[in-house]
Amino acid sequence: MESEGTDDYETLISTTDADLLKRSWRNEKAAPEILQFQSSLVQRSREQIQLMEETVEELVANDEDPLTVSLYQMDIDRTLFLLRSYLRTRLQKIEKFMFHIQKTEDLWARLSRQEQKFAKQSIADLKTHLEQSVLSKLPDRYQSHLKQSVISEEADMVPEPKLDAFVICRTRKFLGALPVDDSGEENPLDMYAGDIYALRYKSIKPLIESGQLDLV
């Protein structure tokens, strides 16, 4: 147990925020549902970008070698791209599954404060649009935007992410035999560090959340 602890610690100090951001971005891109918002990581990355921008300005002011400046600039651009794309991917998921996210507490809690604000507004806007275009023109008992009619017991008209979609993932360390198939058959899979598998997202979800597995 203790050796595992130091192991984690070593990987922790050897990973930079850039790596972490890249990993979160990849996971977010590949996962069908929205993942936990990495608020402190985003915060740190933004501070880092600002710091680097100041460095570049200083270098320019000191007439440094243009190549050095351009290398710094490229680094900033890359981090900015990762950050933007990460935030963008999340917003697009919110746009797609807003009603589902709203009614699932667990998912709602994964959004950042600003994202929640965005989601609330989007939901209100889309609801108004759907009501104006379709629902107000239908009979009373068929006017819900979540249910097909009042007879439906639960919301049966909400787009949801396909959690049993296949995703490509890479293991970060030896995970041992895992039951990855929920068909009931005994079919554990030995997962070694660095191995790449195509598995159903649903079956590996906890491993991604705990960071033992990366999506690619």
Partner: protein
Amino acid sequence: MYGRKASQLLKEFVSGEPGQLTGFNNDLFAQVIEECDGNILHLQALLRKMQEEGSNNQTNKNADHFGALVHHLSLVRNKRCLMAYVYNRAEVIQNLGWTIKHADLPAAVKEKLSISENEYFGKHSSNLQSYMLDLNLDLAVDMVPPKDPYIKVRVLEEIGEVLLSDQIANLAMHSILFLKRIDAESFISQGKMEELTS
């Protein structure tokens, strides 16, 4: 036949180019709504009749019961189709909101939207803007991973003198220049510039 018009509406959407909109089919849309109104009238009449006859719809499944069911199912199906039509178009509109601002929407696209869609586009677009403002980060640039901080572009429309992030440039028509990718991206998405790839 019930439900046919609604499926036509969807077929029309599906047969269009993905990511592009055809004109909002008000005519067909209204016809489907009309069908729904017909359905509910029949449905209510049948339900009333069943109530008057005092038949219990759990035990006594007669012709009226199934008649009512058909009308209900037709209604539900039409609703799903109409919602799918509007919802899928709304998704295209959302994507549009990422690339152009509401004010910059070309008239050719604008006339394809219904009134409500137009309103929705405006709201969605300003919602996106306010999120970016909260974060103080423009998310509409950097759509592709950066390779080089500078790219070569040709100016397609007269833009004039513009203050860019590192220089003041004269963006005259047909001129070819090296710009920072971030500066050039918004012009490219507006169609005022094109990227030259060698």
